[in-house]
């Protein structure tokens, strides 16, 4: 039982990463009918920007220019990084996707792959092949709760992720921008007739998704400090799986599917040798999709909704 709860904590942490990234995938897919295959690399860019911001703030603090406690540095890092990565996401939309809005969807999809490669190799060109280390912003403390070991980092990661998801839910549900996003997901072509500038909403969708991926990048850096330019690839694919599993454009679906992925991976690894983890985990997902091809909350959609 203790063993189970120990793994549950780990699954929640991994699920947080997957879910945060899957949300951006799912929103772009739902609202713009676009698979943004560069999204995993936006996660990577977010982790690196976070690394830069955190390193800078730590340096300023140690020089005495800023008297900040490390937890505040973490909060600032998350906010600044989310903002900067949002700009990167908006730029990707503007430069790579907007000119292709009327193009065949396959062209837009390979554009995503190319943007991903550009971001990865751009990072290599900029920072070189060495791996960078995310600065330690929280001293690790381990709590023993009835034999289950929980670190303060894991708690922080799960709590911050859930708060961001809640904020996203409220944003989409209660603001006029969120309302416009939901309308676009339902019937894209008619939204301009409401006086809503769809380019603004498209950019905003990318900004929000990229911001969440950036948060995932920082949280990942806090837990696993070594970053490399290709870290986004596997995360991107897995989050993509979660987004589809959750159902087109469903926020709740992407969140649940992200966590489910975390759970399946961790618990498969608990029972089977870890080399078989992904083989078995994704066979299970494949089986789920066979029986629910539209995902958890996806609805069959008509051709009219296509761009």
């Amino acid at each position: 039982m203790v063993f189970f709860f120990q793994n549950l904590v780990n699954a929640l942490q991994w699920g947080s990463f997957y879910a945060l990234i899957a949300l951006g995938y799912s929103m772009v897919y739902g609202i713009l009918m676009l698979f943004n295959f560069a999204h995993g690399d936006i996660f990577m860019v977010g982790a690196y920007i976070g690394f830069g911001v955190a390193t800078g703030l730590v340096a300023l603090a140690s020089m005495g220019a800023l008297a900040l406690p490390t937890w505040l540095i973490l909060v600032l890092t998350i906010i600044i990084t989310m903002f900067l990565t949002s700009l990167v996401g908006m730029m990707v939309e503007r430069v790579a996707y907007r000119p292709l809005r009327e193009a065949p969807r396959a062209s837009a999809a390979i554009t995503g792959l190319m943007v991903g490669i550009i971001l990865e190799t751009g990072n290599l060109a900029l920072l070189g092949a060495r791996r960078v280390r995310f600065p330690t912003l929280i001293e690790s403390t381990t709590y023993d709760i009835g034999g289950v070991f929980v670190t303060n980092k894991k708690i922080m990661i799960v709590v911050v992720s859930l708060l961001l998801m809640l904020a996203l839910d409220q944003f989409v549900r209660r603001t006029k921008w969120g309302m416009a996003m939901r309308a676009m997901a339902f019937d894209y072509a008619i939204v301009p007739l409401m006086g809503v500038p769809i380019n603004t909403i498209a950019a905003l969708t990318f900004a929000v998704g990229s911001g969440l991926a950036a948060a995932a990048g920082i949280l990942f850096g806090v837990a696993y400090p070594v970053l490399d330019p290709y870290m986004g690839i596997v995360f991107g694919w897995k989050a993509f799986v979660a987004a589809i599993l959750g159902g087109r454009g469903s926020i709740l679906g992407a969140t649940l599917a992200g966590f489910l992925l975390g759970f399946i991976e961790i618990f498969v690894a608990m029972i089977f040798p870890s080399t078989l983890r992904d083989l078995i985990a994704y066979s299970i997902i494949l089986l789920i999709l066979t029986f629910r091809p539209h995902g958890f909350f996806g609805e069959p959609y008509s051709a009219r909704l296509r761009l």
């Binding site: 309302m179 416009a180 339902f186 072509a189 301009p192 007739l193 409401m194 006086g195 809503v196 769809i198």
Partner: protein, 236 residues
């Protein structure tokens, strides 16, 4: 003159949909364009709303502004031309209230929005009863009311209506047209396209007849109702 369209040409791929039509709508007027299925009626409205690209040589102005300089959302938010599209196209995943409020996206003045909302609810009390309901659960008639109410909420000076009678039972159709008449009398300019020629001509002051992408007839509604060619082709 509020809306002036000159030499409007639209093609889909290689097929010409409109062969250079010209017409005008004066401020406060109600005008209809009648014609058979596929004559180009919807395309005309979609061109005015800037949803489809027009060909070179087309000139469209509204209140003196060059329409071609405005993207689709600005035609609504800056010029005040709102469009009730064919098939209503309400957002079924949003509530009735959200559908109405979405078209105020670009509007600033909260007081005027409130006044407009009250007006919509006074014309269509059914919408107020169902304001918290998902719009997808409304009946066809209620969806048409919502589509009109939504266009009204955008702060319109002019409304383009694409087949508002489509799929409505006669009684419901009458009440929709009565509501449109009220809006027109309150100062909203109306351009209506309809297959239901009798209904449209009874409603509008003037009419145009569109055939295969060309305007072939125009006149006061009474004249057109008495015109033998119109009678034969459209009033059956």
């Amino acid at each position: 003159m509020s809306l002036s369209v000159e030499n409007l040409r639209v093609s889909y791929d290689k097929i010409k949909a409109l062969h250079g039509i010209s017409f005008r709508v004066d401020e406060g007027e109600s005008v209809c364009i009648i014609g058979a299925n596929g004559a180009g009626k919807s395309t005309t409205l979609r061109a005015i709303s800037r949803l489809v690209p027009v060909e070179a040589g087309t000139k469209m102005t509204y209140m003196g502004s060059d329409l071609l300089k405005y993207p689709a959302d600005k035609v609504v938010s800056k010029l005040g031309i709102s469009h009730v599209p064919e098939g209503r196209r309400i957002f079924g995943n949003l509530t009735v209230m959200e559908n109405l409020m979405l078209s105020t996206f670009a509007r600033k003045n909260g007081k005027k929005i409130k006044v407009d909302l009250e007006r919509v609810f006074s014309i269509f009390p059914r919408l107020e009863e169902r304001k918290a309901q998902k719009a997808g659960t409304l009946s066809g008639g209620e969806q048409q009311m919502l589509a009109i109410g939504r266009a009204f909420m955008s702060g319109r000076r002019m409304m383009l209506l694409d087949e508002p009678s489509m799929g409505l039972a006669p009684l419901l159709m009458m009440s929709v047209f009565e509501a449109l008449k009220e809006l027109n009398q309150e100062g909203t300019t109306i351009l209506l396209v309809e297959q239901n020629a009798r209904m449209a001509l009874q409603f509008a002051q003037r009419g145009y007849v569109l055939e295969n992408g060309n305007l072939v007839l125009e006149g006061e509604s009474e004249e057109l109702l008495d015109n033998p060619a119109v009678k034969k082709a459209y009033l059956g």
